[in-house]
């Protein structure tokens, strides 16, 4: 009996050690490597210039005298607040436009059921596979022709091309999960199609709408090549483009200000994401499973 207990204990200790080596150690390494760049970005943003490049006297992993100097430069000596405002308005504008279009399209494809609806769905999915890098040159010429060059409106109109396919696909999945009986009951009670969409389908797919909205918001915040190609004037740039093109000047890189810009540009998305992390994960996995 006691021998068996000792054996059990040995076994459990052995399996625990094994678990530490095979699970916890690699997992910790993954987390460190995945998060280190953010740590490095944050710590550099708060470092004074004297510590930034003097590894002999100051350990690079910590700050002896943290400073807000870099943020001061960024917020009051560049147009950073304006870039932020433009990025937010573009992201909000595109998100609303894309969700509006996607809800209608997904409702038509999944609930109105017409012949060829699967082909329309497939065509929309294929649109998702067309990368912006092969479209930006012709789009740039179109933007110039429409007189939208240097205007954030050009971004609000072009971003939905990669957001609508994704959001539609996601919402089709959500609409599928709503029982038909609900709609049939509403039809019998004399509701019109619009009332069904507004009063029954939309309230039931709120999680899907949130997921699609978060996804659209983050993707348009992160978009780079269109914003780089369509907007030249300093005042109308979005944060990702502006940090790279306006803060890198000449041969001397202002690493402190660059990192502060990267940090401030990432924080809104990270915050937004942390509030809705579960929705984000479900949208990411949901759309792939469909």
């Amino acid at each position: 009996m006691s021998e068996a207990a000792a054996g059990d204990e040995l076994l459990s200790w052995d399996s625990r050690a094994r678990r530490v080596v095979t699970v916890y150690v690699p997992l910790a390494l993954f987390v460190i490597v995945l998060l280190f760049p953010f740590y490095w970005m944050t710590i550099t943003a708060f470092k004074p210039d004297s510590e930034m490049e003097d590894y002999a006297h100051h350990s690079p992993f910590w700050i002896s005298s943290p400073t807000l100097h870099n943020f001061n430069v960024l917020l009051f000596h560049t147009q950073f607040p304006r870039w932020m405002l433009i990025t937010i308005s573009v992201a909000v504008g595109t998100t609303i436009l894309s969700i509006f279009c996607s809800v209608l399209a997904a409702y038509a494809i999944e609930r109105l059921r017409f012949s060829g609806s699967t082909h329309v769905a497939l065509a929309i999915y294929l649109a998702y596979l067309v990368p912006p890098t092969i479209l930006f040159i012709p789009l740039a010429t179109m933007v110039v022709q429409f007189g939208l060059y240097n205007s954030p409106i050009s971004l609000i109109l072009t971003y939905p091309t990669f957001l609508i396919p994704f959001c539609t696909w996601l919402l089709i999945g959500y609409f599928k999960s709503i029982p038909y009986e609900l709609e049939e009951c509403a039809l019998i009670d004399g509701a019109s199609r619009w009332q069904i969409l507004r009063r029954i389908v939309l309230p039931l797919s709120v999680p899907g709408l949130i997921s699609a909205g978060i996804f659209a918001f983050t993707l348009s915040w992160n978009e780079f090549i269109y914003a780089l190609a369509f907007i030249q004037s300093t005042g109308n740039k979005t944060v990702p483009v502006a940090v790279l093109t306006e803060l890198v000047t000449g041969d001397v890189y202002q690493w402190g200000a660059l990192m502060a810009g990267a940090l401030l540009g990432s924080v809104p998305v990270a915050l937004f994401y942390s509030l809705f992390a579960e929705y984000y994960v479900s949208s990411l996995t949901g759309a792939v499973k469909e």
């Binding site: 970005m41 479209l135 930006f136 789009l139 179109m142 396919p165 990702p240 690493w255």
Partner: protein
């Protein structure tokens, strides 16, 4: 209930049942409704996706520059682009970048997913922070990598030299061809691991535990359980993730543009950055469009390979699993 309220109720009921106006009937007419619902999405996609795709082909056949409509020049752009050594190098770089980063992302991402699939404390918190590299704007994290690859003040070199004492000199990450290429692959892999891991994790969680129990009873080893249960059941979802991942890595732009901008001497130039450089700063729209169009066959081939991989799986499983 007195007579007045009863009468009022009848009146409202009558109002509610009055014959539908033509506009209500129009909105309940299905073909009209379908058209109306699809119009915004299809309209935007046709104007800003399908049309520019066609326009791109047309531009590639002209000698357009910025501010000037060009003339039709046939295949001249393609001929000059294809014989350009910088373009050939960029094709090689793009293929290398895609292949190496995809192997890294899927290898490490799969491993991370298997690790996260264990019973762990703070599991959902871990899953949330692991996804961070994928959420943050690519350019901004690319700038951090650029700073970490700095020749004099690289923290990676500092760790290797001063902390771990593995090397005696700092690494010049972005100074020559191969170190620069590998540096880009590492940065791209770092960004892609969370995407693969989270999708794979979702796939892992749909595998019923009873299958593993049955395999255990039959005496299967852990490798056999992985090989004959996990892998086949994950393949469909992995295949979709692989399609998206390879497509977006192949057509990547921002990471390379931010970290090396194609340098040193075009040795890390990929097709997308070359197209940008030729078309926008170089203002040769026709040539740039030709480079962008040259990416399409690769993208179609990648999709086809993945699609037929997936289709074969479906065929093996039988039509019932559609």
């Amino acid at each position: 209930m007195d007579a007045a309220t009863a009468e009022a109720a009848v009146v409202t009921w009558r109002l509610a049942r009055r014959p539908d106006s033509w506009i209500t009937r129009l909105f309940d007419y299905k073909p009209f409704l379908i058209g109306l619902c699809l119009a915004p999405a299809i309209g935007l996609l046709v104007v800003f996706l399908t049309y520019p795709l066609g326009l791109g082909f047309w531009l590639a056949l002209t000698n357009s520059t910025i501010g000037q409509r060009g003339h039709f020049v046939g295949l001249a752009n393609f001929i000059s682009v294809l014989s350009d050594p910088v373009f050939q190098l960029s094709v090689f770089n793009t293929i290398f970048y895609t292949a190496a980063a995809t192997v890294g992302k899927f290898g490490l991402g799969l491993w991370l997913a298997l690790l996260l699939n264990h019973h762990l404390p703070f599991k959902s918190f871990l899953r949330a922070i692991v996804l961070l590299p994928w959420i943050v704007p690519t350019v901004l994290s690319a700038i951090v990598w650029w700073w970490m690859y700095s020749p004099q003040f690289s923290i990676i070199s500092y760790i290797l030299v001063n902390v771990l004492h593995l090397r005696s000199t700092y690494i010049n990450f972005l100074g020559s061809a191969w170190p620069a290429r590998w540096s880009l692959v590492v940065a791209n892999t770092w960004r892609g691991i969370p995407f693969v891991a989270i999708i794979t994790l979702a796939g892992l969680q749909t595998i019923p535990p009873s299958l593993y129990e049955a395999a255990l009873l039959d005496g299967a080893s852990s490798w056999q359980r992985f090989r004959f249960i996990t892998v086949p059941l994950l393949l469909p979802i992995l295949s979709v993730a692989l399609t998206l991942s390879t497509l977006f890595t192949f057509s990547d732009f921002q990471l390379v543009y931010a970290i090396t901008d194609g340098g040193p001497f075009n040795t890390t130039q990929i097709m997308a950055t070359l197209a940008y450089q030729v078309a926008i700063p170089g203002s040769e729209l026709g040539q740039g469009a030709a480079i962008a169009v040259a990416m399409i066959p690769f993208l179609v081939a990648l999709t086809a390979i993945n699609y037929f991989g997936l289709a074969r799986r479906k065929w093996q499983q039988g039509p019932a699993n559609e």
